[in-house]
């Protein structure tokens, strides 16, 4: 069973503007962690909003867990598709952390006792349980974003969409979020779609999709992604420093079986792939 499926989807924001997605096809299997890359305006957010029924395509079909999204079932679909947006400030609805996590639960008519329990549990999952009564303006961006994840997780969705959830955070906040995502990945069989334009964030992904101009430009894995370095650079994506270094060293006859994403991998690759030097 596939978690998300786009079948020949056409979408534009209004009649006058050009199509953002033209004959877009994509299948994401259940339990996969997928990173979607692409520069600004390549249509990543549009895709994620379509999955959750916040936007409706002009033609084509979108299926979530093999069910076609219709106006009649969109609220059901949203229960299964949690979404975390880019700006931590603008998705914090409640006046305190507890209220914010409760918001989604209240919307679903969850009874109060269960609400309390789920709030506690999901705050524990993101390591924010001691901030229960804090107000948003006393939290850092990274903390707010973890609350946003907790709020979504409290609904127990099967699919989690993160639309550039780390792009407005400082390096510390980014690390917090990535660690949170990693624990979520370990815990459950959730399908995760991480939209990002930061190539360093793909370590967590089983599959990488690169979008360009509303189309899938590359569909690959993190091991193979940087063998396409020319293609990536040609659409304006910057390579991680370690990959650039590796590419430079290749000119001097060094070899890299895998393009390293960080210094640890870089060292390892440098040793193992060049043993007979």
């Amino acid at each position: 069973m596939s978690a998300i499926e786009f079948r020949e989807v056409f979408f534009r924001y209004n009649e006058e503007s050009p199509f953002v997605l033209k004959n877009f096809n994509l299948t994401i299997e259940q339990g996969q962690t997928v990173a979607v890359l692409g520069h600004n305006g390549s249509g990543k957010s549009t895709v994620s909003k379509l999955v959750n029924g916040l936007l409706t395509p002009q033609s084509g079909e979108i299926l979530v867990n093999d069910t076609k999204i219709r106006t009649s079932n969109v609220w059901e679909i949203r229960k299964n598709v949690g979404m975390v947006f880019q700006n931590p400030e603008n998705q914090f609805v409640g006046t305190t952390v507890r209220d914010d996590v409760a918001f989604g639960l209240e919307n679903r008519g969850i009874p109060r006792d269960e609400m309390e329990q789920r709030i506690k549990q999901s705050l524990m999952n993101v390591g924010m349980e001691q901030y229960m009564d804090h107000e948003p303006h006393h939290l850092s961006g990274g903390q707010k974003q973890r609350i946003a994840i907790a709020s979504v997780m409290a609904i127990k969705p099967e699919i989690l969409l993160l639309d550039e959830a780390t792009s407005m955070l400082d390096p510390k906040g980014r690390k917090e979020i990535l660690a949170t995502i990693q624990t979520l990945k370990k815990h459950g069989k959730m399908t995760m779609v991480m939209i990002t334009h930061d190539l360093n964030e793909i370590v967590l992904a089983d599959r990488i999709i690169v979008m360009n101009k509303g189309n899938i430009y590359l569909d690959t894995t993190k091991e193979l992604l940087f063998t396409h370095h020319k293609k990536l650079e040609s659409i304006g994506l910057t390579l991680p420093f370690t990959v650039e270094l590796a590419l430079e060293l290749e000119k001097y006859d060094y070899q890299f079986a895998l393009y390293p994403l960080n210094y640890k991998e870089f060292n390892k690759e440098l040793w193992t792939s060049n043993l007979n030097k």
């Binding site: 909003k49 959750n52 916040l54 609220w75 949203r78 229960k79 949690g82 979404m83 947006f85 700006n87 400030e89 603008n90 998705q91 914090f92 609805v93 409640g94 006046t95 305190t96 507890r98 209220d99 409760a102 918001f103 989604g104 639960l105 209240e106 919307n107 679903r108 008519g109 969850i110 009874p111 109060r112 609400m115 309390e116 709030i119 107000e135 948003p136 303006h137 709020s151 979504v152 609904i155």
Partner: protein, 265 residues
Amino acid sequence: MKSFMIIGQFVPGTSSLHKLDPRTKMVTIFSFVIIVFFANNVLSYGWLALFSLALILLSKIRIPYILKGITPVWFLIIFTFILHLFITREGPVLLEISTFKIYEGGVIRGLTISLRFLLLVLVTSLLTLTTSPMEITDAIEELFAPLKKIKVPVHELALMMSISLRFIPTLLEETEKISKAQASRGVDFRTGTLKDRMYAIVPLLVPLFISAFKRAEELAMAMEARGYNGSEGRTKLRELKLTNIDYIAILLYVIINIIFFTLRQ
């Protein structure tokens, strides 16, 4: 700025006033606002003043803090007093300075009206001092719930209130950021004629509004993504519950009012 505007500033605490259900506080305090106007002699005014003082003591908030908090209102109270002193011409003349005459009626009228004013301000500010804005919002939603029958969007209004409360700090921070950014580009908010300063506000307001609209749009999107679909079928995490302390308070309040009405003429 913050120190003298405590009207609307919540002081967290654990006093019995803090513990009361916000609905109890709102209903009693608003009825008090009306009852103050029924006072008509020294005894009834004294009784109400005593009641207000008791409330202040119960709240465990420091009296100087409360008095300082209503600074802007002090001015109004004194102004009202002086105004009545000069305008009212009733009763015997108490004092005569060249053409000005101060009558006994003026003094009495001035005193009673300023006292009335002071009591109103003190007691209503106690409401906001001991009740968090969220509690007030919840209480409004509950108290006005019957209006849903005549299609007043009570839930939506309460949600709007709570979201506004949540975004006040965000927007204040943003205002400060923008005003600093504009000041560094040479916009002068502090000097010049009134007209100049009004014009200087424009480069502050325009970016502030643009960003507020963007926030609103994103927030609406996030709320929809989290399943917000109006009040129907919605449960609430916060629950307002009348406890013993509320029943005691209501009983006491009724007794106080009975005494009040026997004291007045």
